[in-house]
Amino acid sequence: MLLAFEIELRQNMTDGFVLFGILIQPLIVAFMALWMLKGKGPDYAIFVVVGSGMTGLWTTLLFNGGNSITGERWTGTLEPLVASPASLRVVIYGKVLANVLQSLLSMIGSYLLISLIFGYPLTLSRPWLFFISLFVSVVSLVSFGLILASFFILIPDFARMVNTLEFPVYILGGFLFPIALLPGWTTPLSYILTPYWAAVALHGAAQGTLGTWQIVGTWGIMLAFSVVYVLASGRLYRVILRKARTDATLDIVGS
């Protein structure tokens, strides 16, 4: 897993498109959100940092988690990967983790942009809770990534659909505005998305709007989700590999 992590990291650092997803796009989102929410006062700067960082996190998870699988397909390395004795799930976990950790750069990037260039005072009101929340969020997002990656393997056409999944999660995750503004029927959808809980925890800890127990509660939810995802992915991957070997679809390049 460490090796998968390292290789993924090295490949991404040379890929401009990935850098865009990690750095430039979230910065632009941060800038716009900051400007649009300016009227709400300087306290909202930290909200924007966290929110736009979340968009970066989600976008990288979505595009790169998937693209790395599609990439393996293209270069024809998916077959040896599957054939290698290492568990595919572990390999993918490593890849996704590399992507998610990199995308934390986007949060740091928007932090620097907003504090240095725009001169907003940025303080985390509960730093310890924030960093633990961040850790738990990463764990749960990576587990979610496992499930996502399996879709990329199962549905070659999935890569073309991901564009459509970028903004819905921005919206339902409540990254940059509270989901209370949305129509009521969407709320359950938010609840089943682990990015939503991550956003709740991170926003709450950063702004100090949530009590300690509430934040710990979101950790519990995220960890519960993670366990479910990891268990589900175990089954899913077994099914995938069986299917792929019977249908001979491992080398199909989504054309």
Binding site: M32, L37, N163
Partner: protein, 267 residues
């Protein structure tokens, strides 16, 4: 003479037609719908809600119009760039440069279908606006609106042609494209009123395509007449013309350089 003209017109439109087909033929209808109809909607909703959260009031029409026109830009920039830059990918450049075809017709024809496609995108966006956000067209002059949309799409396609040429030179075209696209989001006034930007940013806004188009479209939808926006539209048109000429000029430079240095086959 006349024959030659019709032949060039044919190159122009066939180039347009085939480049569009090559680009979209691989899409299945469902994927096409998703990328053309659904994805723009989600982006629009995102910004409408941030806007609503910011102001606490319903100011949806501002964001709906702004983001609808952004779709024109996305088809102008990405569509056109892919059809010019795609030549490099498919290895067809040597064959194009070895043909006697008029370069102007060959090059600019690539933008035509994407202008139509971009306009369609704007209509879809505005349609969502009517359906979901109560966008009001009762005071709108339809012909003026059509003209404003046409000119805006044209000028952003001009930007696409320019970017397409860059894509013949640089490797990381998607990176550059995305940066330009997202900068348009910031600078054009689609989501942030231009007047609220710092001075230096406003001066950039004024140089870019789309900025005036967005302003004109808002005025027209809110009941302004064509005469109100005509001066702005003329400048928008001019920006489009200049970008197209610049793009064509770069294309020629690229062709000459490639022949001198022998770089045609690098791609």
């Amino acid at each position: 003479m006349l024959n030659h003209l019709t032949a060039n017109i044919r190159i122009f439109f066939e180039g347009a037609y085939y480049s569009y087909r090559a680009l979209f033929r691989w899409l299945r209808p469902a994927t096409y719908l998703a990328s053309k109809v659904f994805a723009p909607l989600t982006m629009m909703i995102f910004f409408v809600y941030i806007g609503a959260y910011a102001s606490g009031s319903n100011n949806a029409s501002f964001y709906v119009i702004g983001n609808s026109l952004i779709f024109a830009a996305s088809s102008g920039i990405f569509g056109v760039t892919m059809s010019v830059g795609g030549e490099r990918w498919s290895g067809t450049l040597p064959y194009l440069f070895g043909s006697p075809a008029n370069r102007w017709a060959m090059f600019v024809g690539r933008a035509v279908m994407h202008i139509l496609d971009g306009m369609l995108g704007v209509f879809i966006g505005l349609g969502w606006g009517i359906l979901l956000f109560g966008l009001d067209f009762s005071h709108t002059d339809p012909m003026a609106l059509l003209l404003a949309i046409l000119i805006t799409t044209f000028s952003t396609s001009g930007l696409g042609l320019l970017m397409g040429c860059l894509s013949l030179i640089t490797r990381n075209v998607m990176l550059v494209n995305n940066t330009v696209y997202f900068s348009l989001l910031v600078f054009s006034g689609a989501n942030i009123p231009v007047a609220e930007l710092p001075r230096w940013m406003q001066s950039i806004s004024q140089m870019l395509p789309l900025t005036r188009g967005v302003a004109c479209t808002r005025t027209i939808i809110n009941g302004g007449s064509l005469a109100d926006v005509l001066p702005l539209l003329q400048v928008e048109f001019l920006i489009g013309v200049m970008l197209t000429i610049l793009g064509y000029f770069l294309f020629k430079v690229f062709e000459i350089q490639a022949k001198k240095k022998g770089t045609l086959d690098i791609f």
